[in-house]
Symmetry: C2
Subunit: 229 residues, 2 copies
C-alpha cells in the first residue's frame, strides 16, 4: 500500500510553523518522513514536541539528526554567550542575532540526503519571509537556487527525477499560518515557540510576541500556557 504513495520529507522543529507544514503535507496525502535537528540550540524543548507531532500524524519514519553547530557559533540561538536573546521585536531591516549562519542550507542539505534515500519527491519546509525577512535562507530566491543545486548534486537529480522544495508558508503572515493550521486541525498544543524554554512560554521574547500576536490576529486563543498569563 505504501509503495505507491507519494512521499515527502518534512523539516520539523516542533515550532508552530513546521507543525502547520506537517499538517499541510498530511492533508495533501503524502506519506510522511519527518526530520528534526539537535544542533546545539540553547532551547531544545521544541524537539520533544516534534516527536509528539510526528506521532500525532503517524509519520512513516522519524529521524533526529545531531550536529554540533554550536562549535561553529555565530548565533544567539546557539550557546554563544556573547550574543543575547532579543526581546525588542524583530527589525526587518536587519538580520537579527538569532540568525543561525546557513541553518536552512544545512537542514535542507541533510533533508535532501534523506529524501534521496527514501525516494521522496518533495521536501517541505516552514520557511517564511513575512515575519523574518532578515533571514536570507528563508527567502524564495534562496529556496529556488538551492532546489537547483540539490538536484544537480544528487543521484536523484541525475536520474531525471526531481526533488521539489515546497515552502507553503513562504508568503503567509503568522495570522494566516494559524488560520490555515486551525482549519486543518493542527495540534498547536504540541508546539513550542519561546526562545527561553522554561516550563511555560515566557510571553516576552520575540518568538512569543509573534506567536501571541498571530493568534490574536487570526481570532483564536493560543492553547499553550504563558508565564505572563
Amino acid at each position: 500500500m505504501t509503495g505507491n504513495n507519494k512521499k515527502a520529507v518534512v523539516l520539523l522543529s516542533g515550532g508552530m510553523d513546521s507543525a502547520t507544514v506537517l499538517g499541510i503535507a498530511h492533508s495533501l496525502g503524502y506519506e510522511l518522513y519527518t526530520i528534526s535537528f539537535y544542533y546545539g540550540q540553547r532551547n531544545n524543548k521544541e524537539l520533544g514536541y516534534a516527536t509528539k507531532l510526528a506521532k500525532y500524524y503517524k509519520v512513516k519514519e522519524y529521524k533526529v539528526i545531531t550536529i554540533n553547530l554550536d562549535t561553529i557559533g555565530g548565533s544567539a540561538l546557539l550557546t554563544d554567550t556573547n550574543l543575547n536573546i532579543p526581546t525588542n521585536r524583530i527589525d526587518n531591516n536587519n538580520i537579527p542575532v538569532t540568525y543561525v549562519p546557513a541553518r536552512n542550507i544545512i537542514f535542507l542539505s541533510i533533508a535532501g540526503a534523506y529524501a534521496e534515500v527514501v525516494d521522496a519527491e518533495a521536501i517541505f519546509i516552514g520557511a517564511n519571509q513575512m515575519d523574518y525577512t532578515g533571514y536570507p535562507d528563508c527567502r524564495e530566491e534562496f529556496l529556488t537556487a538551492f532546489e537547483d543545486a540539490l538536484n544537480k548534486g544528487t543521484k536523484t537529480g541525475q536520474e531525471g527525477k526531481r526533488i521539489k522544495i515546497i515552502a507553503p508558508l513562504l508568503h503567509m503572515t503568522k495570522a494566516e499560518i494559524i488560520k490555515k493550521g486551525m482549519e486543518l486541525g493542527v495540534p498547536y498544543q504540541y508546539t513550542w515557540s519561546c526562545y527561553v524554554g522554561g516550563r511555560k512560554a515566557c510571553g516576552k521574547c520575540d518568538a512569543c510576541k509573534l506567536r501571541l500576536q498571530g493568534f490574536e490576529e487570526a481570532g483564536y486563543q493560543d492553547v499553550i500556557p504563558y508565564e505572563t498569563q
Copy 2:
C-alpha cells in the same frame, strides 16, 4: 597581522585530495580554517590524519563536526551493512555504492556557515570529476549552482560580499594531483585513502588502487605502508 589576511575554509578529510587542496590554499597565502566531519563513516582513520595535516600547516583554527548521517544511510561508506565496499574499480557510467547521498552538499553547507562566522572569502574543496565522475556532487555544474545558493542564503551574500567555492583539483587526474602536491611538499605520509582502515592500507580496494596508480603515473613512490607490499 592576521586581521588583514585573506581567509579560507578548507574541507579536510585526511585523504590525499583534501591534503593537496590544503597545500594549495596554503601556497596561495590564505589564513587557513579547516573543517572535518565525523559522519558515521565506517573508516574514520582519515580523521586522525586530518588533525596531523592541520597541525603541519599551522592552521588558524580546526573544527570537527559530528553528524549522524549513518542514521539516514544509503551508502556503503556508512554503516549500512547491506552494501559492500567495492573492489572492482569504479565504473564511471554508474554512481558507485560508496556514494553518500548529498555528502558534499551537506559538507559545503556547514563549511558555508563556518566561512560566514570567520569571514572567509573562500571555501576550498577537493572535489574531482575525473576519477569519480559518478558522484554528482563533485561536478562543476553542481559546485557553481551551490555557490549561487549559498550566497543567496547567507548574510555574507546579502551584504554584497561573496563566498567563493574553489575546487582546484576538479579537472585533474590523480597523477596530476600527486605531482602538484609533491611540488608543494604536501606531507602525504599524513594522509589515508583505504576504505578498509586497517593498520596498513589494504592495497586492494578502489581507493587504494586509484592512489597507487596515481603515484605510479606521477612517477613517485607512495610513502604509506601497504598490506600488499
